[in-house]
């Protein structure tokens, strides 16, 4: 019930609305400009995906750090903002240099640069988001997302109907930048109005304290879970023009889910559950875990079912070749079935970093990252986008079981609930995969088993118990 009593409920409703609008915006955008400006569309989406990388890979640990250190959140610290700006700007410079070296002859480099420059504006937003969490104004974050999507939608509409500009996508990129900056100003203004003082004090924030064990773990974990999507070399898969556009359209639910985890679930659920000063989190976790876990699975199934109803009709309106439409469907499907697994991974990590932090996990993740990087340097040959997603899927699944085992050995679960959780994961995956292979009898069978398991183990009481 924590979820409902919190003010954030309006925020999450707004968020869902914003994501729907964002989806519609992208489809509309592709539909309007795909044939005329395929190359520039690709450039636009590449840079947007790089942006998503930055959000997930670098923003999340900062977010965690700010949520954890309440001292920083009393005032708006200008020096801290400046620090964040400088970090963001450094990243922008490095990535811009990388792009410049690789694509000097590219006419569309300005689109990429404009989109990347959004980073500099975006980076201090993490700090402001934490402040908004603290003052329980989550609806502002979702509202700003909604505002961003709708205003872009308006711009696309105006550009495609009434105006004749030579570089429409460049215009959109620049307007991205402007809107983000205005959102930043709006946040600062609202926060200062609601009692937060703007101060210029020397901050406690230093890089050494930032890269503590916990933050390092979060960074490496983000690298493991999210990074594969955006590693630069993966863009080489898409030799045909338009493939990047199709890929980034199809991976949208995944991106939305990531942002959802980072900003909304983090704020509403984890803050409630974990920021209380309780010695033993196990009990709360055991009771809430089953509900969350099954809730996420059911949510995923609903998304999947709904999208299978609507995706073909949406695809009919898009002027994309048939090959790309098939790519969209496959990648879309895979990115959706990744959601609950990644959600579980994030949840476990949060729990383990709170009070069950084992040294060996730290070393093991470090080892995994090295392994992962070597794999990507060419040991595994990956030829297509779906192969790529398959690799990520298997890796994330392995990570999930590793974390489950760690949680079990730290006595977060009893053996019995551990087994039940594993069975739930297996049955969910089986039903999804049989659906993928059009073996509907199997889907029905596994879903039936899943439901019967939940009923027989007293799932509804919150804890798994054998009903004997």
């Amino acid at each position: 019930m924590n979820f409902l009593t919190n003010k954030g409920i309006s925020g999450s409703f707004l968020f869902i609305l914003a994501t729907l609008v964002a989806l519609f915006r992208d489809v509309y955008f592709v539909n309007e400009f795909f044939n005329k400006n395929t190359f520039s569309m690709d450039a636009y989406f590449t840079s947007m995906m790089l942006l998503a990388l930055i959000i997930n890979f670098i923003f999340a640990p900062f977010q965690e750090y700010f949520n954890y250190n309440k001292k920083i959140l009393k005032n708006i610290n200008i020096k801290l903002l400046a620090n964040l700006y400088s970090i963001g700007f450094t990243i922008f410079l490095m990535m811009g240099l990388y792009l410049f070296i690789n694509d000097v002859s590219d006419d569309y480099i300005y689109i990429k640069l404009a989109n990347l420059f959004m980073l500099t504006i975006n980076f201090p937003l993490v700090y402001l988001h934490s402040l908004l969490f603290e003052s329980k104004r989550m609806h502002l974050i979702s509202g700003s997302n909604l505002f961003f999507s709708t205003s872009l939608l308006m711009i696309i509409f105006i550009l495609s109907t009434s105006m004749n500009i030579n570089h429409p996508i460049l215009t959109i990129s620049i307007s991205n930048l402007i809107i983000q900056f205005s959102i930043f100003l709006f946040f600062v203004r609202t926060l200062s109005k609601s009692g937060y003082k703007i101060v210029n004090q020397p901050n406690d924030f230093s890089l050494l304290s930032f890269f503590s064990k916990k933050i390092f773990l979060l960074v490496s974990f983000n690298a493991l879970i999210f990074c594969p999507f955006y590693i630069f070399s993966f863009l080489n898969f898409f030799t045909n023009e338009g493939n990047i556009t199709a890929f980034s359209l199809a991976i949208k639910p995944f991106l939305i889910f990531q942002v959802f985890i980072t900003f909304v679930i983090n704020g509403i659920f984890f803050n409630n559950l974990f920021n209380k000063e309780i010695e033993d989190y196990t009990k709360i976790f055991n009771i809430n875990f089953n509900k969350i876990f099954n809730g996420v699975i059911v949510l995923t199934l609903i998304i999947l079912g709904l999208s299978y109803l609507f995706i073909p009709t949406i695809l009919e309106f898009i002027t994309v070749p048939k090959v790309l439409k098939l790519l969209i469907i496959e990648v879309y499907f895979l990115s959706i079935i990744l959601l609950p697994i990644i959600f579980m991974n994030v949840l476990f990590l949060k729990l383990l970093t709170l009070n069950f932090f084992g040294k060996y996990l730290y070393y093991f993740l470090y080892f995994l990252i090295i392994l992962f990087i070597t794999l990507f340097l060419g040991l595994i040959e990956i030829n297509s986008a779906s192969d790529y997603l398959s690799f990520i899927f298997v890796m994330n699944l392995a990570l999930l079981f590793l974390l489950l085992l760690t949680a079990f050995f730290h006595k977060i679960f009893s053996l019995y609930s551990f087994i039940i959780i594993i069975i739930c994961i297996f049955l969910f995956l089986s039903s999804i995969l049989t659906y993928l292979y059009e073996l509907y009898f199997g889907t029905f069978l596994f879903f039936f088993l899943y439901l019967s398991l939940l009923i027989t183990t007293n799932y509804l009481n919150g804890e798994f118990k054998l009903n004997t």
Binding site: F393, L427, Y437, F446
Partner: protein
């Protein structure tokens, strides 16, 4: 740590149908998930070429037979329904055809059927181990670990989507062992009858899949009956008339059926040529028909009874045909190409080598382990070597005689398989579960013993 967890949550191993169902569900859901994930996500990285990803060439033919049977069933169900769809193919193809008939043709149905039998086998292994030992936590722990290893055995994932008889025959073997142990421990007639029915069920399953293995199972049954009688006599139990009738009934029934089956199988070999008139059904279907230039002459032995001699001749004939086909189709991993057996005497002389090969081949470094499938095989064989290596560390006291019976039966399967096969691949596939059972028994005894010591 697992021990502690098991100690505090002992209820999962209670004699409770729901808890057994949950363990079965764990095994079954793991296998289906692993099978589908292997097909969807892993196989494309492992496969050398993209042909035959789902079904191997042999399974493709079996699949076609299932599809044709499905079409026949659509015309007239009761007229065309038969347990064995075609000579050389077992009931597993019929089950598949039945699924096709109800749900439509989809080869992935196989994964669901195969994983059902394999998970049941793992469950039976767990039950068997639990049945043999006492009720201590160490016994439960070691049994659970061993059944999990049996379940997680990686090479079984390779075959999960194929139309093979292995899963059903393994299940039948384990079911017979389980019912045998239950019969050995039985204390009232009602449950005795129940387990007797189970053992006959296992015989029926084996008959409908691999009827030639049934001869081995009948020998097993004879041993079981002998042990049972021995037990009754040694304990000087006052036998009730019902029990005496029951044992007599078993003896008469098993002798009678074994005689019938042995007649059916050996009637084809009459002349003293090894390959004369021998029907090899499976090979015929793939149009592998081949007539060798010179046929090996089989020398009859004076000391060995005729019916045994004929069986040995049949085994060697199979080996010869497999070898000829290997040469014709260029098998990549030929096995025992130089084996020349022309009489029962040769057969017995080569027995130690064959036993050795059956237990230890293929060596981990025999093939290029840079290929993922050979790497998997190497790791698995290493695990089995480690298990064999544990034998000297086990006290002879803790080797229950039931374990010895199970191990000797498994070896009983391994020997004829090793004689007949002609490639390492088929050796590994056919012999795999039996060797694994032996290794797991050794591991289990070792684990139980060592955890008791630590106590």
């Amino acid at each position: 740590m697992i021990t502690k967890a098991l100690k505090s949550h002992n209820d999962i191993f209670k004699k409770n149908i729901l808890s057994w169902f949950i363990i079965f569900l764990l095994f079954y859901s793991y296998l289906t998930t692993a099978g589908f994930i292997f097909q969807k996500f892993i196989l494309e990285f492992l496969a050398q070429n993209n042909t035959h990803l789902l079904l191997s060439p042999e399974s493709t033919i079996a699949n076609e037979i299932a599809i044709s049977l499905n079409e026949k069933l659509k015309l007239d169900f009761w007229k065309n329904f038969s347990l064995v769809p075609q000579e050389g193919y077992g009931i597993n193809v019929t089950i598949l055809a039945f699924f096709y008939y109800i749900l439509g043709v989809n080869p992935y149905t196989n994964i669901i059927i195969n994983s059902l039998f394999y998970s049941l086998s793992a469950l039976l292994l767990l039950l068997t181990f639990l049945k043999i030992s006492n009720n201590s936590i160490y016994a439960k722990k070691s049994a659970f670990i061993c059944s999990i290893i049996f379940l997680l055995w990686p090479s079984s994932l390779f075959w999960l989507s194929q139309i093979t008889k292995d899963f059903m025959s393994t299940f039948s073997h384990l079911l017979l062992i389980f019912s045998f142990i239950c019969l050995y421990r039985v204390d009232n007639l009602k449950s005795g009858l129940y387990y007797l029915l189970l053992s006959f069920l296992s015989l029926i399953i084996m008959f409908s899949v691999r009827d030639h293995f049934l001869q081995i199972q009948f020998i097993m049954l004879f041993v079981i009956i002998f042990i049972l009688l021995n037990r009754f006599l040694s304990l000087r139990l006052s036998l009730k008339p019902k029990q005496i009738y029951l044992t007599f009934f078993i003896i008469i029934f098993t002798t009678y059926t074994s005689l019938i089956i042995s007649d059916k199988n050996t009637s084809n070999i009459e002349s003293n040529l090894v390959l004369n008139n021998l029907k090899i059904h499976q090979l015929k279907d793939i149009s592998y028909e081949y007539f060798p230039d010179k046929e090996t002459i089989w020398k009859k032995s004076n000391f060995i009874p005729n019916f045994i001699d004929k069986r040995l001749q049949a085994i060697i004939a199979l080996n010869l045909i497999n070898n000829i086909n290997n040469i014709k189709f260029g098998a990549s991993t030929p096995f025992n190409t130089n084996l020349e057996i022309k009489s029962s005497y040769d057969f017995i002389k080569s027995l130690p080598v064959i036993l050795y090969q059956g237990l230890f081949e293929p060596y981990p470094l025999r093939f290029d382990i840079k290929q993922p499938k050979f790497l998997v095989v190497a790791i698995e064989m290493l695990f089995i070597y480690i298990c064999f290596f544990l034998i000297p560390f086990i006290k002879s006291k803790s080797f229950d005689k039931i374990y010895i019976v199970i191990i000797s039966f498994s070896i009983f399967y391994i020997i004829p398989i090793t004689y007949t096969v002609s490639t390492y691949g088929s050796l590994y596939r056919l012999r795999g579960p039996f060797l694994l059972i032996i290794a797991l028994i050794i591991l289990r005894i070792f684990l139980e013993e060592s955890s008791k010591k630590n106590k």
